[in-house]
Symmetry: C2
Subunit: 413 residues, 2 copies
Amino acid sequence: MLYAVVGKDPAKKTVLIYGHLDVQPADIHDGWNSEPFQLVERDGKLFGRGSTDDKGPVVGWINVLEAFRANKIEIPVNIKFCLEGMEESGSLGLEESLKANREKMLSDVSFTCISDNYWLGTKKPCITYGLRGNSYYCIEIIGSKQDLHSGVFGGALYEPMSDLVWMMSQLIDLNGKILIDGVYDMVPAVTDAERALYENIDFDEASSYQLNITHNKETIHLLKNEYRESVGAKKLMKSSKVELLMSRWRNPSLSLHGVEGAFSGVGAKTVIPSKVIGKFSIRTVPNMDIHKLDKLVYDYTDKKWKERGSPNQFKCYIYHSGPYWLTDPKHPNFQCGARAIKRVYGVEPDYTREGGSIPITLTFEELTAKNVMLLPMGAGDDMAHSQNEKIDVRNYMEGTKMLAAYLLELGTI
Amino acid sequence: MLYAVVGKDPAKKTVLIYGHLDVQPADIHDGWNSEPFQLVERDGKLFGRGSTDDKGPVVGWINVLEAFRANKIEIPVNIKFCLEGMEESGSLGLEESLKANREKMLSDVSFTCISDNYWLGTKKPCITYGLRGNSYYCIEIIGSKQDLHSGVFGGALYEPMSDLVWMMSQLIDLNGKILIDGVYDMVPAVTDAERALYENIDFDEASSYQLNITHNKETIHLLKNEYRESVGAKKLMKSSKVELLMSRWRNPSLSLHGVEGAFSGVGAKTVIPSKVIGKFSIRTVPNMDIHKLDKLVYDYTDKKWKERGSPNQFKCYIYHSGPYWLTDPKHPNFQCGARAIKRVYGVEPDYTREGGSIPITLTFEELTAKNVMLLPMGAGDDMAHSQNEKIDVRNYMEGTKMLAAYLLELGTI
């Protein structure tokens, strides 16, 4: 963790700014068009691992400080920076460090601002007031002491990979329904008011947004196809705007990430893997209790393992988890963010929720007991965690101005 | 391919000796107790990748030549060595090279001897007259243009990993039965005579062999447990000696090897893999036609894919295949092998088949139109293709003597 203080004026309010310097793994052989760890500009976009998640926004904040200093403008708030290096690994140790230094680091914080998520589409800025959580699980199956030759041993043994693909196939159905008993019981039914909120999400001002879906059916179709095509999928899981947004924001989802211990290289290896670990995670939403979820997962996988009837060794365990987050988007902190966006982009922001988790959001809310706002710099097609991650030059430049304007707005409170 | 000629006496017969110098991948982090590419002796065993598969036997042949030379003993046959470097990759190019040089290299060959497989157990030598073939397949599923963040996209898309684990779970049941329609129709039913052959496999002389199963039920149980424990499995797939041997020698089997394109590392990555390739292979036996098998696999996976109903892109294809092999164990070549074993080990060999494939066996049989014998040096617990591959010092020393004795026996024909 890098902790830095800019300004200690007791007459000013203090804003805490969080960002992270670590990134997801990347290798040019995964399908990058250029070296992932060498920033390259092409067609108005800056490509490179971390360009949008989250080095770009962090550099933006530093540019803001440089700009204030170069123009001899007084920053109207004190700033505390908290930049960490373990965000992509569950922010290990960060919460403990913050708790241990709570009085010194956090006691005078009035607001927190985090720029580590993305716009809904590619053109219109937004402010985010909710995040899904994430609970990451492993299913481990062991069949023999060591990997075996499939010619010599094939047909003689119960093979762990057969068990694992079967177990993984029991977690989710074709249409994305989580098959683990009791998961949906923790998620409140959609009220009419909530549905209206989604129905009324205002995309009218910018007809070309990626996810801009108006009440005009034709436009809906066109723009859903744009979203679909931007990810290269043949078909989306949901057919209406409301269902699609709810799938990403307010409903849980389960993804199968991969298998550790089996053959994963290019080409052929005639191995019977002895120990395989299937990885999956569940995105969590209000009011899913993560400990109760763990129990549901263990109970269900135990039940399925009994149903399978394999003599191999099985265990299912949580790897890490972070809870969901939801706050009040009418708070003055959010109003400052909205005014900053209006100043730079000339539009009112959309108020969004996000599918991804930033567990530290909740930590800051708890430890400061003050409002936390997510003010994204990047666009919805930035491909964080994926190949060819990028940030648009426009987002980087205007986004930096937005961050500066936000600091100025905070001074008016 | 390394090709070497030792002796060109037209009065002598010529034996072709095959071995390979390449090995399976290995990494100490896979669970080796010492560096896989550094030969280490522990407890009378030589540990290292290739120690038994197949560098050990190749070095044995070289030691034989050295011994004949040092003792000024005339080798009673001409020898042609064919040592290749692509065996673990489907012997790419070898058959073409042999065909192109058939007249020069193979026209005067009287016998072929290959030492590239293993004893049934750990104490008693054997000669092998049959091998299963192998057909290696890939199931490829593509959902999006690139990997996606499971937080941002989880719930919006049909994820390829969900499809893949389901497809892979449809290939084989818990008890190892291949679910692909028509596969077993190509395998002749077991006749009474064939069953008697398996029932009568003589293990009486050596009660402590790994797979030594006598007609005494108690011994059967004890020794099956030894085999089971040597691989560390909690339970074997078959409960009788005959069923177990048939599973490994005369019945097809299907193994799931792994997944390419998904997350395979240690720890957690919250990725939705965009393109995943499931790898599996089928061990083939008489009378399975490999081209007909391909068609059955394609038809079945196509049928299952339709049943799945996913909008993602799917294809199934063969990666490589080699057919099964079966020959006459009463041929003079085998008799020389048996006499060599008797001279060195003092016992009659078992006559075995093997579960693994050595496709080149069939190539030599076809191109020389002469008998091919498999004369193994290594033991059944050598763990070829696995972690901690080894060859016992006894097998290496006595096996080398056996190879020398075999050359002498050939001179008596």
